[in-house]
Point group: C2
Chain length 289, copies 2
């Protein structure tokens, strides 16, 4: 059996009781280490689980899946995923390979940012399509996520923005020379995401488009959701561009139409207490009671 086990969002103890029991009985345990991270590292997990973990990076999962699946028709193998196994990134490909090889699979679910984002007080059923904000480069500045945010806002819906992660990236030179030398991992912060959004707002303004968001749109920055040092900051997009939420992972929510109860919750995390009441005047698309 191949077990896909979600680890949740915070630390080692966020695994479910069922998930932990299964890990202890498996022959091999892989840790998927390229789509997300916990606030603790591999060693802390190994100590808590009492098991050695095999790191599975993107290359391994995509190119050496047979290695992971080996023998899983007769022994139990666990594949650990931060968050939920079918959260932001699915592992459908590994499921299909397993079944093709006659291996059954079981999923042990857990929290992911896709549902835990509700902790900021915005109601999950008022969210539209989730978007990803990627790191811009000097020559590549895609704006497609803005148009999705616009579509959500036009329908009064909030948008969860998942922020880019760069793990085991190679410089162009190292890539071309075939040298397996990797850059340090990079995790996009709420500041960086906000700055990119502000740049798009400015671009669209220059093109005289109707703006979906402005510098004054209320946004929510979230960091290390589910961990003890979780941080949530509510303010205008402009404010979030200079708000330090500490270490990764970060996520950003661009709000849509706000229900009074949502406003009451957002106030708990306001960067400046008078941001929310003032909002009505500056960003008419957002409703405040």
């Amino acid at each position: 059996m191949l077990y896909f086990i979600g680890l949740g969002l915070g630390d080692a103890k966020d695994i479910t009781v069922k998930g932990l029991e299964i890990i202890k009985q498996c022959s091999r345990v892989y840790l998927e280490a390229y789509t997300s991270i916990l606030t603790v590292g591999k060693q802390a997990l190994e100590e808590f689980y009492g098991r050695e973990l095999i790191l599975a990076d993107r290359d391994m999962v995509e190119q050496e899946a047979d290695e992971i699946l080996k023998g899983a028709d007769t022994v139990d193998v666990a594949f650990l995923v931060v968050g939920d196994p079918f959260g932001a990134t699915t592992h459908s490909d590994l499921v299909l390979r397993a079944l093709k090889a006659g291996i059954r699979y079981t999923v042990i679910h857990n929290a992911s940012i896709m549902n835990a984002v509700g902790c900021c007080g915005l109601q999950l059923y008022n969210f539209g399509e989730t978007v990803s904000i990627v790191f811009w480069t000097d020559s590549w500045k895609p704006e497609s996520f803005y148009d999705k945010i616009k579509r959500n806002r036009d329908s009064g819906l909030h948008t969860l923005c998942l922020l880019d992660i760069k793990v085991k990236e190679q410089t162009m030179e190292n890539l071309m020379r075939g040298r397996k030398i990797y850059e340090p991992p990079r995790y996009m912060s709420v500041n960086q995401a906000s700055e990119q959004l502000l740049e798009i707002v400015q671009n669209r303004r220059e093109r005289q488009e109707d703006l979906a968001i402005t510098e004054d749109t209320i946004c929510v920055g979230l960091a290390r959701v589910g961990a003890e040092d979780q941080a949530i900051a509510v303010g205008t997009l402009h404010q979030l561009a200079s708000c330090d939420l500490g270490g990764p992972l970060h996520s950003l929510v661009v709000t849509g139409h706000l229900h009074p109860l949502e406003v009451d919750m957002l106030r708990l995390f306001a960067i400046e207490l008078d941001t929310l009441p003032n909002l009505k005047m500056t960003d008419s698309s957002t409703y405040v009671s």
Copy 2:
């Protein structure tokens, strides 16, 4: 401290290790029992946690919140919620009351249907707004969820439909006479939701509207997600109207634009193997490779 603890979706062992440790140390433990259910009852949870649970129904949470909060500024109180505490139904009101009374709170997240639905192979970031389908009565047949599904479909997005739950409902007579006699709980099945959708399709067809969905739109029925006897069935809306998925809870997904990898996953759960390949001809809004 007031702890909001998610129980996940299946049985007693779907609680996180952290959540279980907290339950064991709390002075009082409440079980929220009106927005969702596990596949096991209160007694099984009490045996596994080694703690007595106090059932908190809607009346209690809404009208006797002080009772729940009593003393939580000095002792630890746990409030258990099936799924994630801020999943389909938030408990923002209880959070705000706690803070007003000077009581701090902590959230222990877990899986909810909002993210676990990914187990059917549809990618979470291809979902639009989540909708609720309510039980129709003879005189009240709202169709607003259809318009939201239409909006999602127009954007190529899938729609998660949460199906109605009626717990501790009173008949009009008992309500008027003030008798606290409750009807047996009712949980909407995938069949019932599909039948209501089919009726709307027929209504809209008679009004000569452009149809957002038809009898041939590919839908996914899910039952008891995360439990050992979880069931997933993929077929046309027409097929799902007569497909028995067993006991509660059920959810329904109306698909949007399908990515080839999503189609490969959906095939695993197809009611009839030739449903998906045939689809192209009958429902042109859905893409199949």
